[in-house]
Symmetry: C2
Subunit: 414 residues, 2 copies
C-alpha cells in the first residue's frame, strides 16, 4: 500500500478550527451559532474572506447557501463539490458541521501550497441552516437546493421571535442572486464527525459512509382524564402518562429486537397538566425509528401503531398517532465511496464501513449528485453538546481523506 | 328514623354559590381565585360583608385566616368551628373549597332565620391558601395555624413574580392582628366535594369521612447521557426517559397490587434536553403513594426505592430519589364522625364511610381540635378543573348535614 506524499497541514487545520470556534463561543467550550443570526453572519463573512484570500470566487444562492469555486484546468468539466454547514445547535459543539467546512478550506490551502491544478473545478459549500434549531426545519439550505422543500414555504418559516427566514437572509445580507437549485456537479464529498460511538469504540480512524438510514417519525398523543391523584381509585384512572410510559418501553424493546442496527427513540415529551397531585390527562411525545434496511422500517411501521394501540386500549386511554414522515434509505455513490476508501488506504488510516444515523446535507445532495461522506470519531460519541470533542489527529485524518477523494475525483479520466 | 324539621334553604345556598363563582370566573365556567391575589381579596371582602350582615364578628389572623363568630348562650364554652377555603386552583372549579365556606354561610343564615341560639358559639372559617398554586405551598393557612409550618418560612415564600406571602397579605389588607395559632375550640367540621368518583359511582349522597390517607412523596431524577438518536446504538444508550418510563410503570403496578385503596401517581415530569432526535439525558419527576393504612405506606416506602434502583441499574442510568415528606394517616374524631353520621341519618340521606384521598385543612386542624369532614359527590369525580360540577341537591344535602352536626355539637351537654 503506497502512501501519498501530498499532505494537508494538520496544525493549520486545527488552528483554523479553534479560531473559527471563537465565533459564538459559549462559556462551557461549545458554540452557539444559530442559522442566519448575526453570529452566523460573522462566521459567513470570515468564511468568505478566507476563501477570497485563497483566490476563490464565492457565490451565494437565494437561501444563503455559499459556493466557493477554485477553477480547474478544464472549464468544461462539472465541479467537484465538498463542504458541510457552519450553523450550530443552540448549545452545540465546535465540530458538528464546522469540521467539514474548515477542513474544506484546508484542502483549498493545500492545493494552493502544493501548486496543484485539478482537471475539474472544485467548489467548497457552506449549506444554510443544517441544524434546524432556529426555524424548526433541519437541512433547510440543502433541502431547498435539492428541491425537497419548496423555497416559498421555507422563506416564510418564523423563529420564536416571529422573524422569518426571508427577513433573516436580508438582515444579514445573504439573500444571494443565484437560484437555489441543483446545477451540474460531478460529485459531492462531506466530512463530518460521526456523532456516535462506533468508530471510537472500535478504534477506527475513518468511517467510510455507505449511505443513510431509513427513518419513520411519528407524533403521539395519549388522552386520558386528568383527575385528583389522592382521590381517584385504580379502577377509574385513565392515566395518559402510564400509557405513554408503556409505549416508550415498547419503542425501546422494538429497537433492541433489531440488534445493534436498530434505532428507536422518544426524545420529546410534554405532560399535561403536569402537576404533582394530578393524574396526567394528556401526554404528547415524539417517536422515531431508524434502520439501514427499508424492509425493517416497513415492519416497524406496520407493527408499532398496532402494538401501541393495544397498550392504549389496555390503559383505557385514547392514542392519536400521526406519521410525520418516512425517509427511505439513501445509498451513497459506489464510485465516490471507493474514492474515500482508496484515499484512506493511501494515507494509511484504519477504516470501517458505516451507515449514517444522523441526517446530513449529503443525504439530500445525493438525490442529484454522486455523493459520499467521511466520518471521523468524536469523544464518547457525544454531539449536539458543548462538550463535543475530537483530537487534532482525528481532524487531520478526516481532512487528508477528503483531500485524497477530491483530488482523485477532480483528476479522474472521463 | 326521625327526620329533622329544621332545614337549610337549598335555593339560597345555590344562588350564593353561583354568585360567589362570578368572582374570578373563567370563560370555561370555572374560577381562578389565586390565594392572596386581588381576586381573592374581592372574595374575602364579599365574605366578610355577608358575615357582618348576618351579625357575625370577623377576626383575621396574621396569615389571613378569617374567623366569623356567632355568639352562643354560654360565653364560657369553646366555639364549634366549621369552614373551608375560598382560594382556587389556577383553572379551578366553582365548588372546591367554596362549597364548605358558602354552605357555612347558609348554616349561619338558617340559624338566624330559625332563631336558634346555640349553647356554644360557632365560628365560620376561611383558611388562607389551601391550594398552594401561587406560592407552591398547599394548606398554608391551616398549616401555620396548626403549627405545622413556621410562620416566618411561609411569609417569605414567593410567587413566580417574586412577590412574597408577607407582601401579598399587606397588599390586600389581610395581615390581621391575631396570632395564627390554635385557640380552644370544641370541634371542627368541614364540608367538601369528594374530588373523586366513589360516591357518584355508588350513588351515595353523603360521604362520612373517617380520616385522611397516609402519604409518601418523592422527587426522582434519572440521569443517563444525552446523545444522538440516529447514531447511538442500543448497546451504548443510557436513556433517562426509558428508565423513567419503567419506574412510572412500577408505580402503577405497585398501586394496583394494593387494590382499590391504593394510590400511586407520577403527575409531573420534565425531560431534558427534550429534543426529538436526542436521547434524553435527564428526567425529573414526582412520585407519590397514598393509602389509608400506615403499614401499607411503610411497605411501599421500603419497596419502591429498592425496585426503582434495580430498574435504573438495568438501564445503566443513575437514579436520585429524594423523600419529600411522609404524612401519617390522620384519623378523625369518633364523636364528631358520629354527629355527621347521625345528621345524615336524620335528614334521610344515603351514606358511605370514606377516607379522604386529598389533603384538606381539616387534616391539620385535626391535630388540635376534634374534627370530622363531610363529602358530597362531584360529577365524574372531576376536580381541579374548570368543568368541576355538582347538582344543587347535592350541595343542599351537604349543607344540611353540616347544619345538623354543628347544631348537635354546639348544643351537646358537657
Amino acid at each position: 500500500m503506497s502512501q501519498t506524499n501530498q499532505r494537508i497541514d494538520g496544525k493549520r487545520l486545527w488552528d483554523s478550527l479553534m479560531s473559527f470556534a471563537e465565533i459564538g463561543a459559549t462559556p462551557k467550550g461549545g458554540v452557539r451559532r444559530l442559522a442566519l443570526s448575526h453570529v452566523d453572519k460573522t462566521g459567513r463573512d470570515r468564511f468568505r474572506a478566507e476563501c477570497e484570500a485563497q483566490g476563490l470566487k464565492v457565490r451565494v444562492d437565494s437561501v444563503g447557501n455559499m459556493f466557493a469555486r477554485r477553477e480547474g484546468r478544464d472549464p468544461a468539466r462539472a465541479p467537484v463539490l465538498f463542504g458541510s454547514h457552519l450553523d450550530s445547535q443552540p448549545s452545540g459543539g465546535k465540530f458538528d458541521g464546522a469540521l467539514g467546512v474548515i477542513a474544506g478550506l484546508e484542502v483549498i490551502r493545500s492545493l494552493n501550497d502544493l501548486g496543484i491544478v485539478t482537471e475539474a473545478p472544485v467548489e467548497l459549500v457552506n449549506w444554510t441552516d443544517e441544524e434546524g434549531s432556529r426555524f424548526g426545519h433541519s437541512l433547510m439550505g440543502s433541502g431547498v437546493w435539492a428541491g425537497v422543500y419548496p423555497e416559498d414555504h421555507v422563506r416564510a418559516l418564523k423563529d420564536t421571535d416571529g422573524v422569518t427566514v426571508a427577513d433573516s437572509l436580508d438582515a444579514i445580507g445573504y439573500h444571494g442572486p443565484e437560484a437555489a437549485r441543483p446545477f451540474p456537479a460531478d460529485a459531492y464529498f462531506e466530512l463530518h464527525i460521526e456523532q456516535g460511538p462506533i468508530l471510537e469504540r472500535e478504534a477506527k480512524q475513518i468511517g467510510i459512509v455507505t449511505g443513510a438510514q431509513a427513518q419513520v417519525w411519528y407524533d403521539a398523543v395519549t388522552i386520558g382524564q386528568d383527575s385528583h391523584a389522592g382521590t381517584t381509585p385504580p379502577s377509574t384512572r385513565k392515566d395518559a402518562l402510564v400509557c405513554a410510559a408503556r409505549i416508550i418501553d415498547l419503542v425501546d424493546r422494538m429497537m433492541r429486537a433489531r440488534g445493534e442496527d436498530g434505532r428507536g427513540t422518544v426524545g420529546q415529551l410534554h405532560v399535561s397538566p403536569n402537576s404533582r397531585n394530578v393524574i396526567p390527562g394528556e401526554v404528547r411525545f415524539s417517536v422515531e425509528f431508524r434502520h439501514p434496511d427499508q424492509a425493517e422500517i416497513d415492519r416497524l411501521d406496520a407493527q408499532f401503531p398496532r402494538e401501541a394501540e393495544f397498550i392504549a386500549r389496555d390503559c383505557g386511554v385514547e392514542l392519536q398517532l400521526t406519521t410525520l414522515f418516512r425517509i427511505p434509505p439513501q445509498p451513497f455513490d459506489p464510485a465516490c465511496i471507493d474514492l474515500v476508501r482508496q484515499g484512506a488506504a493511501r494515507a494509511g488510516y484504519s477504516t470501517r464501513d458505516i451507515v449514517s444515523g444522523a441526517g446530513h446535507d449529503a443525504v439530500y445532495v445525493a438525490r442529484h449528485v454522486p455523493t459520499a461522506m467521511i466520518f471521523t470519531p468524536c469523544k464518547d460519541g457525544l454531539s449536539h453538546n458543548e462538550a463535543e470533542s475530537i483530537e487534532p489527529e482525528e481532524a487531520t485524518a478526516g481532512a487528508q481523506v477528503l483531500f485524497e477523494a477530491i483530488v482523485a475525483r477532480a483528476n479522474r479520466t472521463l
